[in-house]
């Protein structure tokens, strides 16, 4: 039987061959609960009334959304999470340690072929490491902590082939925005994505994580890449179990096949309020901006900060522009400090904040835009009111586009500014 990656991984965890459309009960390797859902998860656990939670030790509690807590309720949820982790032996990532989707792989908690669930839609990120990662809720993780298993509907898969390599100044973000423009938000609803091809092979791990992460905006249940030497080296360096890549079979059945000419892609941007209102950056060059954000689980990694620093080092952002950079984790922050990126960005006028989810969604309350302000952000969602003011606009683009736009105060094609064609040495 020829299997997709989703069928292969879910089948291995169910213990028999499965096909798209089947509903299966599968063994879960690792689970994640973050602080925006922990209150609910703990209430569901209480309802469940299980005396023992044998799988709690394979669960991470992450304090990232309400980091730092904006009110006593959030601070109290944090206290409850710390206590639960201590009593039940769950892994704890405290305030400032980082965003769940960054600290899970960094902590070596899973490897190729694993099945990982998290209380967050962007749990698709784990697919960058050849794992089936998917978003669930409090009831689900309660079931996992009690039984080590969960029900899944095996998704159909869209196979995406990236032909050729991305040109300098063009990133995984631009690939996903292109897909969003083509398929529409929720265009992959209920489905898994597989990304293949030279364009993926040429990407660094950071960019591959963006690709898998951002699949959530397409509605995808999972987004899985095959593993190569880069993946395995990264997993080993972070202490994961010995990786063995799971591969899709030739002849696997896909609901759709899409080819993207990666070498021909240009930087893309999603305009206000709709993540699938995507156009080429060159078509909106000159649009005035007020706030520039680099961060989040989608694009707050070292490579994103390197892109920004390559553009902003030794310069100043435009007068009147507020720029915030939020590294995705403490490890990313430390690496950026060692490389001098924090200094370069701070000197250029950006505020570099402690790791967390704060710049993505207005729940820490420290980033509320004013009326008619235009935010250009490397985050993942831009619906009206996302940052706490429905009269503001959020535009979504790569870290390079955000940095170039901060420099000029207007939407700018990074390829047209000094340092905007930066790319890591192979």
């Amino acid at each position: 039987m020829a299997d997709t990656l989703a069928e292969k991984i879910l089948g291995a965890h169910a213990g028999y061959t499965v096909k798209a459309g089947d509903v299966v009960v599968a063994r879960v390797d690792f689970a994640m609960v973050h602080d925006a859902r922990a209150g609910n998860a703990l209430r569901q656990l209480e309802k469940m009334g299980a005396a023992n939670l044998p799988y709690a030790s394979r669960t991470a509690f992450v304090l990232d959304h309400y980091s730092p807590p904006p009110n006593p309720e959030a601070a109290n949820t944090h206290i409850a999470m710390r206590r639960f982790a201590e009593e039940r032996g769950a892994v704890l990532y405290d305030i400032g340690d980082g965003i769940c989707h960054q600290v899970l792989p960094e902590g070596g908690h899973f490897t190729c072929g694993d099945l990982v669930v998290g209380t967050d839609t962007h749990s698709t990120t784990y697919g960058a490491f050849n794992a089936f990662g998917t978003g669930v809720e409090g009831t689900d993780v309660s079931a996992v902590m009690m039984t080590g298993k969960l029900w899944f509907r095996v998704p159909e898969t869209i196979r995406i082939e990236l032909k050729g390599r991305l040109q300098p100044g063009v990133w995984a973000k631009d690939v996903t925005l292109t897909m969003l423009g083509r398929l529409g938000a929720e265009g992959a609803n209920y489905k898994a994505l597989e990304y293949h091809g030279e364009g993926v092979a040429a990407m660094d791990i950071d960019d591959r994580m963006t690709l898998a992460n951002h699949a959530a905006e397409l509605g995808a249940k999972a987004a899985i890449l095959e593993a190569d030497d880069k993946t395995c080296a990264w997993l080993r360096a972070h202490g994961a179990r010995e990786p063995r890549s799971v591969r899709a079979d030739a002849g696997a059945v896909y609901s759709q096949r899409i080819e993207i000419d990666a070498a021909a892609l240009a930087p893309q941007i999603a305009r206000k309020h709709r993540i699938d209102d995507v156009i080429a950056v060159t078509d909106v060059v000159g649009q005035k901006i007020d706030i520039a954000l680099i961060g989040t689980c989608t694009n707050g990694r070292l490579d994103d900060m390197r892109q920004a620093a390559a553009i902003l080092k030794g310069k100043r952002i435009a007068k009147g522009v507020r720029m915030i950079v939020t590294p995705a984790s403490r490890q990313v922050y430390l690496a950026a400090l060692r490389e001098g990126l924090v200094e370069a960005l701070t000197a250029a006028g950006a505020s570099v904040e402690a790791a967390g989810c704060g710049t993505c969604v207005n729940i820490t309350g420290h980033l509320i835009p004013g009326d008619d302000q235009v935010i250009v952000s490397s985050a993942n969602r831009n619906f009206k009111g996302r940052l706490g003011n429905p009269k503001s606009e959020i535009w979504i683009a790569s870290a390079a586009t955000v940095a170039a736009s901060a420099l000029t105060g207007r939407i700018t094609d990074a390829r047209e500014v000094e340092g905007g064609r930066w790319r890591a040495a192979a």
Binding site: V23, V25, N40, D140, M146, W151, R153, G385
Partner: protein, 166 residues
């Protein structure tokens, strides 16, 4: 599984339940408060017109984005008997099943506000008997119908702690 009979309450497409039916943007508010203010921004007086046992009939992608489970808890408090939409946000769909709230993926064309609906989840038929209107939909897989019939995942696991129903 029992048939569902209730009045239709229409909502538009692409409803973000985090925005309209959760405390994500109302920190500290409990589920009872959320339930009393559900969807008021998009459908004024929604809650005052909604009776226990009624049905939400929404446009496509109901519950898109991160969709907190609390939205389903609030709908259960309101007594929502089922949600019908041409397509759901993935997370909402899962949360609904885990909490014993039937979700019906079905064409809603022709359904009006206050229509008296009858839904048979097992055979996959939705009808408005008064007007002779009938819509077919693919019934949910048997395993999911079992979860729904148990009242959701928690009561299911309390009854079948090893997931085995046979």
């Amino acid at each position: 599984m029992q048939n569902i009979k209730g009045k239709a309450h229409l909502l538009p497409e692409e409803i973000n339940t985090d925005l309209h039916c959760s405390a994500k943007y109302m920190p500290g508010k409990d589920t009872a408060y959320i339930a009393q203010h559900a969807f008021e921004q998009i459908a004024p007086h929604f809650v005052s017109r909604f009776k226990t046992g009624d049905v939400i009939v929404a446009g496509r992608n109901f519950g898109i984005n991160s969709s907190r489970e609390q939205a389903v808890h609030a709908m259960r408090l309101l007594g929502v008997a089922a949600v019908v939409a041409p397509a759901f946000g993935r997370q909402f769909f899962r949360n609904a099943i885990n909490n014993g709230l039937p979700v019906v993926e079905c064409d809603i064309g022709g359904i009006d506000e206050d229509d008296a609906l009858e839904i048979d989840l097992t055979t996959g038929v939705m009808r408005v008997p008064e007007r002779g209107l009938q819509r077919m939909f693919p019934p949910l897989p048997a395993a999911i119908q079992t979860l729904l019939a148990a009242g959701g995942l928690i009561p299911f696991l309390q009854r079948y702690p090893d997931w085995k129903t046979a």
